[in-house]
């Protein structure tokens, strides 16, 4: 009996963990090209979810809403790059940390006033009636989350490997200066990475909204865990985020079961600080050599 509950906890947590992994994957995309990440990424998740909900309320069918939401997320990603990141990168400063926090705050306030402060349900055609697998109940909604996460990651990876733009992306990630000397515009590649990252964030928002409901604060806890996953796995760890995401999702699910739901956020935060202290490049990250 007790064992079943524990396994149930782990499985449900793992599905949530996949969403953390997806957002963390979005961090990796921009970190690869520009060594920067959007500290307001949570607001992108939230704004895209609200926008998608509005599309649904306007009567758009679910399957048309998804690309609409993704495009919106990509557009927001581009705005963040233009307004918050490019200047700082040109000045070789770390001003982008502050600027992306500021843009996130602006987005938060806009959402609060446009859509209200209350949490709203997000209708979905996918059933949330559980079925049993070996005594563990799983909902089709959870399965859809897993499929969505892997579909987006797979598409982005295919894009990176098979298209010319994607190869430019890889080239800039490997060596920005060399890529520029070969005629690849780093600025445009960084734009591309922010667009992709915004799209990934939007997908995360669409996937998780039916489970958590939509509200201005829906992503504030989510984003901390995505940070934790990205840092613990390593910001250049590729699919390492999936493993760490699943691990963290399961861990926090167990934590809230044993210690109470108030402590739910704690394991991610502790892991993040520990990882920074012990392995700043992450479990799966490559260590770098200091150069002068």
């Amino acid at each position: 009996m007790d064992n079943t509950i524990i396994i149930q906890m782990i499985v449900s947590g793992a599905f949530m963990g996949l969403v953390y992994a997806l957002i963390a994957y979005g961090f990796q995309l921009t970190f690869a090209t520009s060594k920067s990440i959007n500290f307001g990424q949570g607001e992108l998740v939230m704004l895209s979810a609200f926008f998608s909900l509005t599309l649904l309320n306007l009567g758009l069918p679910f399957w048309l809403m998804v690309p609409g939401g993704l495009l919106f997320g990509a557009a927001l990603g581009l705005v963040v790059e233009r307004a918050g990141v490019r200047l700082a990168l040109e000045q070789k400063s770390e001003g982008w940390i502050l600027l992306t926090i500021i843009l996130g705050l602006l987005g938060f306030s806009a959402a609060e006033n446009i859509w209200g402060r209350d949490d709203r349900p997000f209708p979905t055609p996918i059933s949330s009636d559980a079925f049993q697998v070996l005594g563990i109940s799983i909902t089709p909604l959870e399965i859809s989350v897993a499929i969505g996460v892997f579909a987006v990651m797979g598409m982005v990876e295919l894009f990176k490997r098979k298209t010319l733009m994607g190869k430019a992306f890889e080239a800039v990630s490997a060596d920005r200066d060399a890529a520029e000397l070969m005629g690849i515009s780093a600025t445009r590649t960084i734009m591309l990475s922010y667009g992709l990252s915004g799209m990934v964030a939007a997908m995360a928002g669409i996937l998780i909204s039916p489970i958590t409901t939509v509200g201005p604060t829906m992503a504030s806890a989510l984003i901390l865990k995505a940070f934790a996953v990205a840092v613990v796995a390593g910001l250049d760890s590729g699919f390492g985020v999936v493993l760490i995401g699943i691990f963290l999702g399961a861990l926090e699910s167990l934590t809230s079961f044993y210690l109470g739901s108030g402590w739910r956020e704690a394991p991610g935060l502790v892991l993040l600080i520990l990882a920074l202290a012990i392995r700043p490049n992450g479990v799966f990250g490559k260590s770098t050599i200091r150069k002068v």
Partner: protein, 651 residues
């Protein structure tokens, strides 16, 4: 000089005495409450400015330290019955200790990772305050009574004066500290951690100290906050407050006590600003005006990028237009903060007070403080007599990177008082050898002896402390510091005063001495006229020379010059040769890595040639130039006939 002193100190005196005396004239409790908050936020922001301004890190934990300090004081009073000062001491200590602990993992971190660590710490702190109900009362909050001070009950006025005294103390102490070697070290590590270690200043200790100090001030402010409001809730110290604090520091102006004070005023007045429609409209219109003027001036001087000029105008215009359109500005407070912050970060990076300071010193023609006369070079750089002993010995030194054998068994001896050239084709391992000697990399195997004693391995800082100093092929100056400060911060054997004396302002004499010594070294490299220029504003050649002066400030046993002539124009190369000559005359031992063969031939007593990570030749410059192995390494030719044109720049 006197004018400057009067101005700066006068302004401080006027503001502080005004703050002290206001309660004598007014009895309005609301105004008194605002003043009390001003003092508390002043302390908090001065602390935040240490990390954000001086250490240059985005610190998202200051609101959490305020909360932790507040709860520490509250619990001390309610549970343990402490008096006021004891409780405040505990809040300060809590900030100091937790700040120090949090800074330990930050040792290896910078930029985004540091911000993430502080962000997680704050979220964790709020979780603990919320969930540890037995101690903190959880979300219910914690009520407390203001404890007695020396057995006296404090009314609002007395408490304000207490807060004010703390603010004045913090102000004076921090002013002294930030103007001392400590402040310079903080700024140095912000600009280059590698050089901070290589100059023996110590990145780690200063980073931890700076962060702990800033957090301690946060804790102290928290204690006062607890006794001011007498009711605490974890929700008061979340991310929202953090953003407001950042707004205060950035808008007021980083690296400035006045900036922190101005920021505190702003934070205290913000609620009024937002609730009063007219005030808000005036304020946003003024913001737009400033943005337009700044853009216009930037455009005239061609100093700004178009984005830097336009973005603040757009943001401020949004604020003005939005102000008319929305019904209730309070609901949009976060967006308003965001737009204001955005404009300042992009368009006015020095903040309001940084801008004002420049403007005022122009308006009143306040000259920068005078420099002392330079010391004699003999005092700044004691010359040495040598008997030609071996100073540095490398024994079978190896450094491999994965499969790449960058240095593969190098043995060499450097004699005291000589200039020892290290040359070789690109990729031959020269730079790796000096990076291993200076401690940037630990050797894979092999021994290094300095004056017969083993050299520390893999620590720039430790190597620098035993007397090896270096310059960098890719410049590692402290860009925001002036040329003079770049040298001062590296000076060895000048700063003796213990911290308490420094804090109380009793270390002026050694500061003056440091200035004089640094000037002497600047004179040696011909930069005494540009002592006040920021390092990043110097010409490329001047930056190279400044690195040499800074390395000499360590009074090293061994000086390593890593391609000092790289990229220099011809007149500068001749100047460089002169500088190195005069350094040799002081009896300094030098390892010189160089590609310019004429520089090497002119200066070096001995030359070691590397290729493929191994020594292929050693001898005087003319011997080495004739060595067939050297010729082959450079051009892949073996015949004596080709030798004449083989070695680059050979004359």
């Amino acid at each position: 000089m006197l004018k400057r002193f009067l101005f700066v100190r006068g302004a401080e005196l006027i503001v502080l005495s005004a703050l002290a005396s206001i309660p004598l004239f007014i009895n309005n409790t609301y105004a008194l409450g605002l003043l009390t908050l001003l003092a508390i936020y002043g302390i908090l922001l001065i602390g935040l400015d240490v990390t954000v301004g001086y250490l240059g890190q985005v610190n998202l934990a200051q609101a959490a330290f305020l909360g932790l300090g507040a709860y520490a004081a509250g619990i001390c009073v309610t549970t343990f019955g402490f008096g006021m000062l004891a409780a405040l001491a505990v809040s300060l200590l809590i900030g100091l200790i937790l700040g120090g602990l949090l800074a330990f993992p930050a040792l290896r971190l910078d930029g985004p990772q540091f911000a993430l660590a502080t962000l997680s710490f704050s979220a964790l702190a709020i979780t603990v305050l919320n969930e540890w109900e037995g101690l903190t009362g959880g979300a219910q909050g914690l009520s407390l009574d203001r404890p007695l001070l020396f057995g006296m009950l404090m009314d609002a006025k007395a408490f304000y004066w207490l807060c004010f005294i703390f603010l004045a103390l913090v102000w004076v102490v921090m002013r002294n500290m930030l103007a001392s070697q400590w402040g310079r070290a903080f700024e140095a590590l912000r600009d280059s951690t590698i050089a901070t270690d290589a100059m023996g200043i110590g990145t780690y200790r200063h980073k931890v100290a700076g962060f702990a100090l800033g957090s301690a001030l946060g804790g102290l402010a928290g204690g006062l906050y607890a006794f001011n409001f007498q009711y605490l809730q974890p929700q008061s110290f979340t991310y929202d407050l953090m953003v407001i604090l950042l707004l205060g520091v950035v808008l007021g102006g980083r690296k400035s006590l006045w900036g922190a004070f101005f920021g505190a005023c702003l934070i205290v007045l913000l609620p009024n600003l937002l609730s009063n429609r007219l005030l808000f409209e005036l304020f946003s219109a003024a913001g737009l005006l400033v943005a337009v003027i700044a853009a216009w001036r930037g455009w005239m001087n061609l100093k700004q990028l178009p984005f830097q000029a336009l973005a603040p105008i757009i943001a401020m215009a949004l604020l003005v237009v939005g102000g008319y359109m929305v019904e209730n500005t309070e609901n949009w407070r976060k967006a308003i903060f965001a737009l204001m912050l955005f404009s300042v970060v992009v368009g006015l990076p020095d903040g309001v007070m940084g801008f004002a300071a420049r403007f005022l010193s122009k308006l009143f023609k306040i000259a920068p403080s005078e420099l002392p006369t330079a010391s004699k070079l003999e005092e700044a750089l004691p010359s040495r007599q040598h008997t030609g002993d071996t100073l540095l010995e490398l024994q079978d030194l190896k450094r491999h990177f994965g499969g790449v054998k960058a240095v593969d068994g190098v043995s060499m001896k450097v004699c005291a008082g000589q200039i020892h050239g290290l040359i070789g084709p690109n990729g031959s391992g020269k730079s790796t050898v000096v990076n291993v000697i200076s401690g940037l990399y630990a050797p894979t195997s092999g021994e290094m002896l300095l004056q017969g004693k083993p050299l520390p391995k893999g620590s720039l800082f430790k190597v620098a402390r035993v007397g090896v100093s270096r310059t960098f092929q890719n410049l590692q100056l402290f860009g925001e510091l002036s040329a003079l400060e770049n040298v001062m911060v590296a000076l060895r054997g000048v700063y003796h005063a213990p911290l308490p004396l420094v804090l109380l302002g009793f270390a002026r004499a050694e500061e003056q001495r440091a200035r004089a010594d640094a000037l002497a070294l600047l004179k040696l490299v011909g930069l005494e006229d540009q002592a006040r220029a920021r390092a990043k504003d110097l010409t490329y050649g001047a930056q190279r020379f400044l690195e040499i002066a800074r390395a000499l400030a360590r009074k090293p046993e061994l000086l390593i010059l890593d391609e000092p002539a790289a990229g220099l124009a011809h007149p500068d190369v001749s100047k460089l040769v002169e500088i190195i000559r005069s350094i040799r005359q002081c009896g300094m031992t030098v390892i010189l890595i160089e590609h310019h063969m004429d520089v090497v031939s002119e200066l070096c007593d001995v030359v070691t040639v590397l290729d493929g990570g191994q020594v292929i030749a050693e001898g005087t410059p003319s011997e080495v130039k004739r060595n067939p192995k050297v010729i082959k390494a450079y051009l892949g030719m073996e015949s004596e006939a080709d030798a004449s044109c083989a070695v680059p720049h050979a004359t």
